[in-house]
């Protein structure tokens, strides 16, 4: 029983990373009907930005704020930096070709992904980097026989706070209502006096900012970061988005957490080598019975 609980926590930790990244995919798709393939690499960029702040800039960041303050400062700065990067990509890579339709934008997104990935390689080098253990709180806790590391608690708590905050913004505020209106029908929303430009700006800032924070946490939790890491996480988060229902924000959170737990179940009860097979079989089954994903609502096809 203790082992199952421990494994569940392990699965949820991975799952909350997937969920944070998945939110970026889902929000952009909801409003723009565009799959932002550069999102995974923005996440990796966030990880490297946090690395620079914590390791190279440690003299200022960690000394000024202490280990916890340094961590939070690194996450906030990375979030702001990646938010800016996200909006820049929208300006440079997507906005000029919106009139050409949705498919050219997807190709442009893949191009942006390659540009960011190679940009990271040029700036930080092709070798993997490691977050130094000095700047990461690492304690082993034993709660009633269940072993959990302090980083796991931090990751879970911060992820759930961020997800809750986003849920609140989208569901309870006026601005959130504007985002949801845009997701339903952009042209009608514009006629109702909603500033579409502002909504798009925030979508492309907020999603990557969450991804950037996830990047810093991944770096602190696993410590090893590589310039190609965005691809794997991006793919998993995209899968989570599909599982939960693309365009749906609670769906992305549920999809991410569920994916982490499913991977855990697959590797514990079947075999680690076959866990991805297990996860994708479940995904196919879900899509057979609910083609729009678990929480996706049926939307009439626009003609």
């Amino acid at each position: 029983m203790k082992i199952i609980l421990e494994q569940l926590l392990n699965g949820l930790t991975i799952g909350s990373f997937y969920a944070l990244i998945a939110l970026g995919y889902s929000m952009v798709y909801g409003v723009m009907k565009l799959i932002n393939f550069a999102h995974g690499d923005l996440f990796a960029l966030g990880s490297y930005l946090g690395f620079t702040l914590l390791v190279s800039g440690s003299a200022y960041v960690s000394v000024t704020f202490g280990i916890w303050g340094g961590m939070i400062a690194a996450m906030l700065i990375a979030a702001i930096g990646i938010g800016i990067a996200g909006t820049l990509i929208e300006r440079i890579a997507y906005r000029p070709i919106y009139p050409a339709g949705r498919l050219p934008a997807v190709v442009s997104a893949l191009g942006a992904s390659i540009v960011i990935q190679n940009g990271i390689m040029i700036v930080w080098g092709p070798r993997p980097q490691a977050y130094s253990s000095k700047f990461v709180p690492s304690h082993m806790l034993n709660i009633g026989g269940v072993k959990i590391t302090s980083m796991q608690i931090i990751v879970l708590v911060i992820s759930f706070i961020l997800m809750g905050l986003l849920f609140y913004i989208v569901q309870k505020t006026t601005f959130g209502a504007a985002i949801r209106a845009c997701a339903l029908d952009r042209s009608t929303a514009a006629l109702m006096g909603i500033n579409i430009e502002t909504v798009i700006f925030f979508i492309f800032a907020l999603g990557p900012a969450l991804g950037g924070m996830a990047g810093v946490m991944v770096g602190m939790y696993y410590r090893k970061i590589t310039f190609v890491m965005g691809w794997n996480y991006g793919l998993k988060a995209f899968t989570a988005t599909i599982l939960g229902g693309i365009g749906n924000i609670p769906g992305a959170m549920l999809g991410g957490l569920l994916l982490g737990v499913l991977e855990m179940i697959g590797s514990v009860y079947i075999s680690t080598a076959y866990k991805d097979v297990f996860v994708f079989v479940i995904l196919i089954l879900v899509l057979i019975f609910r083609p729009t994903g678990l929480l996706g609502e049926k939307i009439a096809e626009k003609v």
């Binding site: 421990e6 930790t13 490691a130 690492s138 082993m140 590391t149 890491m229 075999s271 680690t272």
Partner: protein
């Protein structure tokens, strides 16, 4: 007008031709170009970088003594394969398509060598692998393929017959990373243990694979912890091994950690952190730091003088070895023809004194007499040889 244009362009062309031919005449003897294929980018870049540095040092040492074939210098031409099978075949093509490349030293990772060696074979270019140990590679009857490193079956046998008894281990966990090399070493180790398993002396309590592209291994490791192994043998590569050892220790696995021959190098220690890397064992071919014969000492000194340290894995040294044997074969046979070089390597080279000891090749292109050893990582990141006898 037309005529002036024609005249001027013709004269420019003539001048260009003269300059080019002058250039060739000035350098009387063209260099002997040897290709080096390796992971210069990607997660395994550290191995490619060290291989490039080692081969360049070896080339420098030969050139300083006056080169080969009566004064021709050796030039290394690098092709990056990022340690990916598809890129490996492309890098091989890239080297072959350059007419002056005589032979190739290729590359880190058996799963990259596999497709690349087929390409070299097709275009009849001698290629020597430096970091590719899976048993099958030389069993395919290739004519132009050789390797200066050993084979996984030697290592698996060493693990079963020396390492397991050394730790007096009863319960063994074996984990691989689903690459052909890693699966091969894991399965051959299990086979080598089979007779003792049948006798009930040892037991394999865990045997599974992980995906090396991932970063979280706590779930499979928690499963492994519940089997209470005495020895945890990881047969994968260093980028994920650094994460695995740290996550394993953090969740309370206290089994002896033994890595395969691709686990321990400077990047492993960097990723794991020395607090987790110290005390880790590895089954490895002979490390350069424990060689004392003149060729090894000269190489170590030259490398240290240029880069301040010595290579942290044996593979890059094998790349330098490959360069030495190629230079020797070309020099002694007096030819840059692939068939002549291949014939010399296979039939005439016997105990050629190289950096990692005497080198000769058997009928299928394997190095004669390679051996495995057990090492432990010390607190300062260096390694010590363990006597397993």
């Amino acid at each position: 007008m037309k005529r002036i244009k024609f005249l001027s362009s013709t004269s420019i062309l003539l001048i260009v031709i003269c300059v080019i031919s002058l250039g060739t005449f000035a350098a009387e003897k063209p260099p002997v170009v040897i290709g080096l294929q390796g992971p210069i980018t990607g997660p395994y870049a550290v191995e490619g970088e060290m291989a490039k540095q080692s081969a360049e040092i070896a080339a420098q040492m030969i050139n300083d003594k006056g080169g080969i074939l009566d004064g021709r210098m050796i030039e290394i031409r690098v092709a990056d394969d990022a340690c990916q099978p598809k890129a490996g075949a492309l890098a091989a093509m890239k080297l072959i398509s350059q007419k002056d490349v005589v032979a190739a030293i290729q590359t880190y990772g058996s799963f990259v060598v596999l497709p690349a060696s087929d390409v070299y074979e097709k275009f009849k270019k001698v290629n020597i692998a430096y970091g590719a140990t899976i048993t099958d590679l030389t069993e395919r009857g290739l004519k132009y393929f050789f390797r200066t490193c050993g084979r996984t079956d030697t290592q698996a046998k060493f693990f079963a017959e020396k390492v397991v008894p050394y730790f007096d281990a009863k319960k063994i966990a074996i984990m691989n990373n689903n690459t052909s090399f890693s699966v091969g070493l894991a399965e051959e180790s299990r086979e080598a243990l089979q007779s003792r398993i049948d006798a009930g002396e040892v037991e394999i309590v865990y045997f599974d694979a992980i995906n090396p592209d991932e970063t979280d291994f706590t779930v499979p490791l928690t499963k492994l912890r519940e089997t209470n192994p005495d020895v945890f043998y990881y047969t994968g590569h260093f980028p994920e091994a650094g994460l695995i050892i740290r996550q394993a220790r953090e969740i309370g696995i206290d089994a002896v950690f033994v890595g395969g021959d691709a686990v321990v190098n400077s990047d492993f220690i960097n990723i794991a952190g020395i607090e987790y890397a110290k005390g880790c064992y590895q089954t490895q071919e002979a490390l350069i730091e424990f060689f004392n014969h003149p060729e090894a000492v000269a190489f170590k000194e030259a490398y240290k003088a240029k880069y301040g340290t010595i290579p942290s894995s044996p593979w890059s040294v094998y790349a330098a070895d490959a360069l030495y044997v190629l230079a020797e074969a070309i020099d002694k046979s007096g030819s840059t023809d692939s068939d002549v070089i291949a014939d010399y390597l296979r039939n005439k080279m016997e105990a050629f004194p190289s950096i990692t000891g005497p080198i000769g090749f058997d009928e299928i292109g394997d190095r004669v007499g390679s051996s495995s050893h057990l090492y432990i990582v010390n607190e300062d990141g260096s390694s010590s040889l363990i006597d397993t006898e």
